[in-house]
């Protein structure tokens, strides 16, 4: 064999090895977050789902986890630290979880049933020595029916709910498993439990694919790959998280090569980012940007004809153009093809003639025009571009004879008012409120808005919607323990919600991100979260 042929053969033989290289690679990815601070690293992050995305899922694991491997299909749940689960046939408030064996926390201690019970107690048992009120707010709210955990054996636990709840496995993606051994070690040197949790936040120990290597509060967190991870290991060696709350500063940081990836670039910066060779990624995200109607006495939105008319009067494609393509056109809370879609009979579309007809039928004409008052914010986390978007909708509705007035308030105040409900004085007589929301699990997507028991102060049924049919459908979904039956019940609920036009669905966020072309392997799933094990730097 001549030397040339030998080299060619050797190169061809090496090709598969080269193709497999990313698995063993590579590099440091620097990410500019929208958060103003590093999300908490104590195991239950704050800063909304951005916290779960960057310091929850990468450092810690949960019993059930989101499938974040595909951009094409809706994200569903997978076995995580639990390999299987079932509801107790004799007691439907009792779930049995079988735990994964051979998993170790970053500190080397073993993950087992005791760790699960300990982690449930940290947020639900006020008598537990490690109970942390700080973590309650961001955890208990996302698994509202869980009450306690019981160890059955080293690798089996029972989780007890307040009522039969088929949604528990989905909710459990929010309960991250922190290391009891690490906490105990730090507690010995801390004055109290809160001090131990603060120390734990500086030296966290989970079972996730990354370990925290360095934390400078308010400035940066550095995660390094956990080479002993129980699942598929991360490709990148290091992830650096930088809080850059200002959108222009994030864009400048990416363009000046200070970061490799930014969250939520400003829409008007996207052409410039593209022209400089940056990759813009987006995908349908379960992030709904609606007007939530008030159903109280005197609200014109009590009338389903009016709600339908408003839904029909908005040209959402125009809005998409306004946002540079960075939104998805909604046809309900979940998209067509989603397991909870349900094929409603009312089609959300643009049909101004039909909108005028419905308004006239409801008694609103040019002589007696409808005036709506909507409470909105000028900015806010997850609110996309609230002012131009709402003004666009205002113009659209004017074309069908609906006058819209805005009560613009600050984001924190809008949050507070959302909890108070539309009959509270803080609503100042508005007929709808514009608060975007996550719709990853059925409780957050539908139940909390459409269950009459979820009216304020219990949860986010801001509009005081109450209909026994919906309460019955929700109970049916909660009691359907076979996944297919549960999805079918949720699909009926969703279809009924769309038919009743229980929201004015205006836009779905698509979670735009901008990245340096050196970032490879990234997959943007249809989720709020991403799998940081996949991307690497070339």
């Amino acid at each position: 064999m001549g030397l040339r042929r030998y080299l060619l053969t050797a190169c061809l033989a090496a090709l598969p090895l080269m193709a497999a290289q990313p698995a063993a690679a590579q590099g440091t990815i620097r990410i500019g977050m929208t958060a103003a601070d590093i999300p908490l690293t104590n195991g239950q992050p704050d800063q909304g789902f951005e916290g779960n995305r960057f310091t929850g899922i990468p450092i810690f694991d949960s019993l059930t986890m989101w499938d974040l491997s595909s951009a094409e299909r809706p994200s569903t749940i997978l076995p995580g630290l639990a390999t299987e689960w079932r509801v107790d046939a004799n007691d439907r408030t009792r779930w049995i979880f079988t735990l994964r064996r051979g998993v170790r926390f970053h500190d080397g201690s073993e993950f087992n049933a005791d760790a699960v019970v300990w982690n449930v107690r940290k947020v639900l048992d006020r008598e537990a020595p490690h109970f942390d009120p700080r973590q309650v707010g961001v955890t208990a709210t996302r698994m509202p029916t869980l009450r306690r955990a019981e160890k059955i054996d080293d690798y089996t636990v029972a989780l007890i709910t307040a009522q039969p709840d088929s949604l528990l496995p989905i909710n459990l993606t929010n309960l991250f498993m922190a290391s009891p051994a690490q906490w105990d070690r730090l507690r010995a040197a801390a004055p109290d439990a809160q001090g131990a949790w603060n120390a734990f936040a500086r030296e966290p120990s989970g079972t996730g694919p990354f370990r925290l290597a360095r934390l400078v509060p308010r400035e940066r967190a550095e995660l390094v790959r956990n080479d002993a991870y129980w699942g598929e290991k991360a490709r990148a060696e290091r992830i650096v998280l930088l809080p850059i709350p200002e959108a222009n500063a994030r864009t400048a940081a990416l363009l000046s090569n200070q970061v490799d990836w930014i969250e939520a670039p400003a829409p008007d910066a996207i052409p410039q980012l593209r022209s400089r060779g940056m990759t813009i990624t987006s995908n349908a995200q379960p992030h709904v940007w609606p007007w939530q109607p008030c159903f109280a006495e005197g609200s014109p939105l009590r009338d389903v004809r009016v709600r339908r008319a408003i839904n029909l009067a908005i040209d959402r494609e125009g809005l998409r153009t306004l946002l540079g393509g960075m939104m998805a056109v909604p046809v309900g809370t979940v998209p067509q093809g989603h397991p909870w879609w349900g094929n409603p009979s009312f089609a959300i579309r643009t049909d101004k003639a039909e909108a005028r007809r419905l308004l006239a039928e409801a008694g609103y004409t040019a002589q007696r025009p409808l005036t709506l008052k909507v409470q909105i914010s000028a900015s806010g986390s997850g609110q996309m571009q609230p002012l131009p978007m709402n003004e666009y909708v205002q113009q659209q509705l004017r074309e069908v004879g609906v006058n819209v007035e805005f009560d613009v308030i600050e984001w924190n105040a809008l949050f507070t008012n959302w909890r108070n409900g539309c009959q509270h004085a803080s609503a100042r007589g508005v007929h709808a409120i514009n608060v975007s929301f996550a719709a990853m699990d059925p409780f957050f997507a539908m139940v909390r808005f459409w269950d009459s028991r979820m009216a304020p102060p219990v949860s986010n049924n801001w509009g005081h919607f109450s209909d026994p049919r919906f309460d019955a459908m929700i109970a049916e979904a909660r009691n359907a323990f076979e996944p297919a039956a549960r999805d079918a019940a949720l699909a009926r609920l969703h279809a009924a919600g769309v038919d009743e036009a229980l929201f004015i669905w205006i836009a779905h966020d698509v979670a735009p991100r901008a990245m340096s072309p050196r970032v490879r392997g990234y997959v943007q799933p249809q989720s709020w979260f991403v799998d940081l094990r996949l991307p690497y730097i070339q």
Binding site: G137, V138, Q194, R218, L242, S459
Partner: protein
């Protein structure tokens, strides 16, 4: 002098009380709820109320203020509602970062302001004067956050000469005085220096012009003193007032750089305050404003003392 010093220090006590109370009331009056720093908006009502009780936010306002005050007297500024960290741990780092930025900006503003003001005052009515005054007016008129963004676009994005954000390649915790770190300081410091530069220029110009018209300058000139010799006398007379102005400016920069620190993600007190305001993180807000107010009081006192040292005609008693 000693009793003057004691009296000024004692004056700081009612100021601290008033600042603390004012800040506390302001947050309570503003719409929104400090509980939002701890629980998400979709939290059920019972969880919200429980957390409110856990953090003592359900207590009557005078009680909440009293508890905070009692802790402050003991040197404890409390814990952040949002992060659980002690306010002091966040604040101490932020103060040193802001002090660094504000000092560099003040020195820059002071030096440029004195040079421009001195030239303008000396050559009043000339082209130099008009140019210097133009620069000064532009300095105080241009919104500094806008200037900051323009400089980022020019020097970071287009030319790639200077970093756009942050306080060093590894954060402020490992700050050292080398170019790798100092280059992060250039754009925010220049942005922040523009206003004090404008103010000092106008002040120094006015003082110099006034002094130049005084009789003792004519006398010095009549005695045959050189232009440089006269200038030294003029500067000595102008220094106390210029110093007072720059002292005040340093105080403003310590607390007033919210927008610039946000534009450059500079981890100082401005950014800390900005986040605390939006999160309604009351302990951080109160602690930061209190410390900044005390810094301002201390700085004024220091300026007074230095003024006295420079100009014995000023009596402090």
């Amino acid at each position: 002098m000693f009793f003057y010093l004691i009296r000024r220090i004692l004056y700081a006590i009612p100021i601290a009380l008033a600042v603390g109370l004012f800040c506390f009331m302001l947050v309570q009056i503003a719409p929104g709820d400090p509980i939002n720093a701890i629980v998400p908006a979709d939290a059920p009502g019972d969880v919200v109320e429980q957390v409110r009780r856990d953090y003592g936010l359900d207590k009557p306002l005078p009680v909440q203020f009293g508890i905070w005050l009692a802790k402050v007297v003991q040197g404890d500024l409390g814990r952040s509602l949002a992060t659980g960290r002690t306010v002091w741990s966040d604040l101490s780092g932020a103060i040193s970062n802001t002090l660094l930025l504000a000092s560099v900006a003040s020195i820059l503003g002071f030096v440029l302001g004195c040079v421009l003001g001195g030239l303008a005052g000396t050559f009043r009515g000339s082209l130099i004067d008009r140019v210097a005054v133009g620069i000064a007016v532009a300095g105080v008129s241009v919104p500094h956050y806008w200037l900051g963004m323009v400089m980022v676009v020019l020097f970071s994005v287009q030319l790639n000469w200077l970093p756009a954000m942050g306080a060093g390649p590894g954060g402020s915790a490992d700050w050292v005085w080398n170019w790798e770190h100092m280059q992060h300081l250039v754009l925010p410091a220049v942005t922040l220096a523009v206003i004090p530069m404008g103010i000092v220029t106008r002040t120094v110009r006015g003082i110099i012009a006034e002094i130049m018209n005084q009789e003792f300058v004519t006398a010095l000139r009549g005695k045959g003193l050189t232009r440089a010799g006269i200038f030294i006398h003029v500067v000595k007379n102008a220094a106390p007032n210029a110093l007072a102005v720059i002292g005040l400016q340093l105080g403003y920069l310590m607390g007033g750089s919210i927008l610039v620190e946000t534009v450059f993600s500079w981890p100082g007190t401005g950014l800390l305050l900005n986040n605390a305001i939006f999160q309604r993180d009351l302990p951080v807000l109160q602690g930061t404003i209190l410390v900044l107010a005390m810094f301002f009081v201390g700085l004024n006192l220091l300026v007074d003392l230095v003024q006295t040292a420079l100009d014995p005609r000023i009596k402090r008693a």
